[in-house]
Amino acid sequence: MRAAMLWIWLLASSICQAEPGEITFFNWSDYLPGEVLERFTRETGIRVRYSTYDSNEAMYAKLKLLSGKGYDLIVPSTYFIDRMRKEGLLHPLDRSQLPNFRFLDTRHLDKPFDPGNRYSVPYLWGTTGIALDTRHFSPDQVKAWADLWRPEFDGRLLLSNDVREVFHIGLRVLGYPGNSTDPEQIRQAYEKLRSLMPNVRVFNSDAPLMLYVTGEVDAGMTWSGNAYRTQQEVPSFVFVYPREGCGLWMDNLAIPSGASNPDGALLLINFLLRPDIARLIAEKTRYASPNAEAVRQLPAEIRDNSVMYPPPEVLANGEYSLDIGEAITVYAKYWERLKVGE
């Protein structure tokens, strides 16, 4: 009896919180090759707790739930950096601790969502376009987002589980800007997307790559890096930049304001900015790196690949998602309706 009590007490005291010096890294799923953190730990001796999310909204909600604490490093997209810095949820970056910052391509710096890069550092960027298995569909017939509405795609499509990305399609197909805050335009986009629903088989942002490779879906939205990796596994896949304009996105490293180990996080950010590490990340994930030096070191076949590093005209036609403030509730309302499948 007493032994049992002692045993229980010992056990209870062994369940403790994160050890000091550890860094908690919250990143998108499938966005970091395992060996990067291993190398970091080997070189610095600091352990990294790694967990993943599949949407900005989930990351944001989790952070708010924990009152901004619990994570040291997060990777929000552009519009969430914008929103979070305005809400005071981000810790300003001490540039003096980031000597590797100089390797970044200046074309990706000092953007409106984070002037002067006070709160964030670009991590990876890319495009959102259409994936197509040419064994089942002819690439000549699919040149625009609007083509996804064709009847031959009945029950075949994959869409991202992301309200902004999906509504971007609905808005652009109608000729409206992808960052519209006009409730009427958003409503029309919703109606248009509703008519697309019979063609949608699954919403997935966790691991869409797997779904394409295993043949569960053979057409739909995809991100550039995923598209390239899909092509490698299933050569019949092509990646199409839609006529109306592809989506552009950039994910950025940032430190939450309540982080318990901001210095450790800065150390990790600097490590990730090192050209050889940034190159490794770019090579494994197949997304575009904003690190100029890393890109220089990439093998030519990757650097010149139009899927991963799109030509300027594609970039000009593309559109970043911006923070739309309160209008997000309008989007959220319609998104729910879409998911319920009215």
Binding site: S55, E57, A58, A61, K62, K64, L65, E87, G155, N161, V200, R201, V202, F203, N204, T214, G215, E216, A332, E336, R337, K339, V340, G341, E342
Partner: protein
């Protein structure tokens, strides 16, 4: 002497206090939050409103509830249909084998349910065993799209929850006094009449317990709809998860939770009626 009495009293009080703190109080808090308003920066502001409940009547959410109820009812009926004869047959087996077979029923019940869902997904995948079999048999030319459908979700729910239906039913059948059936037969009752008027009423507590243990979880197992359903057709489980962990609309999420809690009470009442009907209780959990 007094110390030991104090210890006994304290020990006896542990459970009630724990239940008060961690069952009653949280439920009351959910009720309270459901009557408040969402706050932009925090979670709730103390502004009392019935808006959240009014929102529940929006056709979108009504559809979520009816879809989920339909799916749960489907899973429950399927489980009942499969488990009833199974439990009956099991109760008739000689005691030597019965222990082994019961163990075989319990083992999946004790295996991690996510693993079992993963197994179903593997089975139904485009390159999975089911499609490979059908292709090999020449019944189809191309893989059939089995996953990410309502059927896949239903199958997943049945697969995870079937043992919850089998065990209470088995318990009921085991307690069944065979002499009652013999007596009815002696009175020239036909097999169907015996079934309707003797067996069903006597196993009613088991049926009610099984339905309760399958229907309610079926409403809330969001990971089944997530893994097998493809994030289409929002269900109650996913709705609650979204409201609390993504949309951060706690008052609305609480209101939706309360609906589920009301269903819980309704079904508990139904269970007690069934108990009274049969004359005694049968929820002897394994």
């Amino acid at each position: 002497m007094r110390l030991s009495e104090a210890m006994v009293t304290a020990g006896r009080g542990l459970l009630p206090v724990w239940l008060l703190l961690f069952t009653l109080v949280p439920l009351l808090m959910v009720l309270a939050v459901s009557l408040l308003t969402r706050d932009e920066t925090g979670f709730v502001t103390p502004v009392v409103t019935l808006e959240n409940y009014r929102r529940l009547f929006d056709p979108v959410y009504l559809k979520v509830f009816t879809d989920s109820m339909a799916m749960a009812a489907f899973a429950t009926l399927l489980c009942l249909g499969m488990a009833y004869p199974f439990a009956y047959l099991l109760s008739r087996i000689g005691s030597a084998w019965r222990g082994v077979l019961l163990t075989l029923v319990i083992v999946p019940f004790w295996t991690n349910s996510l693993i079992r869902i993963y197994a179903i997904r593997s089975l139904l995948a485009a390159k999975g065993a089911m499609n490979s079999l059908l292709l090999a048999l020449g019944l189809i030319d191309e893989p059939v799209r089995l996953l990410y459908t309502g059927w896949a979700v239903g199958l997943g729910l049945v697969y995870v929850l079937l043992p919850f239906m089998i065990l209470p039913l088995y318990s009921s059948f085991e307690k069944l006094d065979r002499r009652l059936i013999e007596a009815a037969a002696d009175l020239y009752a036909g097999r169907w009449a015996i079934f309707r008027h003797v067996i069903v009423p006597l196993t009613a507590p088991g049926i009610a317990a099984g339905c309760l243990l399958v229907f309610l979880p079926a409403l809330g197992l969001f990971y089944v709809t997530d893994v097998l359903g493809g994030a289409r057709n929002l269900m109650v489980g996913a709705l609650l998860k979204d409201q609390f962990l993504e949309a951060s609309d706690w008052p609305f999420g609480s209101a939706a939770s309360l609906i589920v809690i009301v269903w819980l009470f309704l079904m508990m009442g139904f269970y007690r009626r069934a108990q009274r009907w049969a004359g005694k209780g049968a929820l002897d959990d394994v």
